[in-house]
């Protein structure tokens, strides 16, 4: 019973964060605020949703693989958004000195 309760709470909160990030991507006026919305809501929504799948699965090898995916997404999703936004900023400003 506790497992079903935790699974439902984590899954619903993850879906709410995904929906809020999508609304931000649709409604914000420019590229940098859209990048802000997508990076934060997408990372937290993925962590919560995949944690709910870990609770659903129990304690076995599948849970270890999902935890590996969670750690990978925690590192790469903000990094990818940062690199895309910085590339766009350097294209707009014309400066080419910063390396990434």
């Amino acid at each position: 019973m506790m497992k079903i309760f935790l699974f439902t709470v984590f899954l619903i909160s993850g879906l709410i964060f995904f929906a809020l990030g999508t609304i931000g991507i649709l409604k914000f006026p420019e590229i940098y605020s859209r990048a802000h919305s997508s990076a934060k809501c997408d990372t937290l929504g993925t962590i919560l949703t995949l944690s709910s799948f870990c609770i659903y699965s129990g304690f076995n090898l599948v849970t270890l693989k999902i935890i590996i995916i969670i750690i990978f997404i925690m590192i790469t999703s903000p990094t990818a958004t940062h690199i895309i936004t910085r590339g766009n900023y350097e294209k707009e400003e014309g400066s080419n000195d910063a390396d990434f």
Binding site: R34, I69, F72, A80, I84, G87, N88, K91
Partner: protein, 84 residues
């Protein structure tokens, strides 16, 4: 609990289609790349939910490889944006 998995797949599919609107209509290239990055992350969650519905554990490996390929593609396309 399978009903909750079906519900989550439906909600994630609706948000994927809304993100696809931004990736088609977006004014700059960076808008499209950011929304496609979000779609990648949502598709990973959808693949894992489908693997629990079908009870096939090898879909988890598919999701891991999908995450790796999506990150590599985002970095390469951002380098193309910077040099254009």
């Amino acid at each position: 609990m399978v009903n909750m998995l079906n519900f989550s797949i439906i909600i994630l599919s609706i948000t994927v289609f809304l993100c696809m609107y931004r990736s088609i209509k977006g004014p700059t290239i960076a808008d499209r790349i950011i929304s496609i990055n979000v779609i990648n992350t949502k598709v990973i969650a959808i693949i894992i939910a489908v693997s629990f519905i079908y009870q096939e554990t090898y879909f988890i490996d598919v999701a891991l490889v999908y995450a790796l390929i999506g990150f590599t593609a985002s970095i390469l396309i951002s380098k193309i944006i910077k040099e254009s």
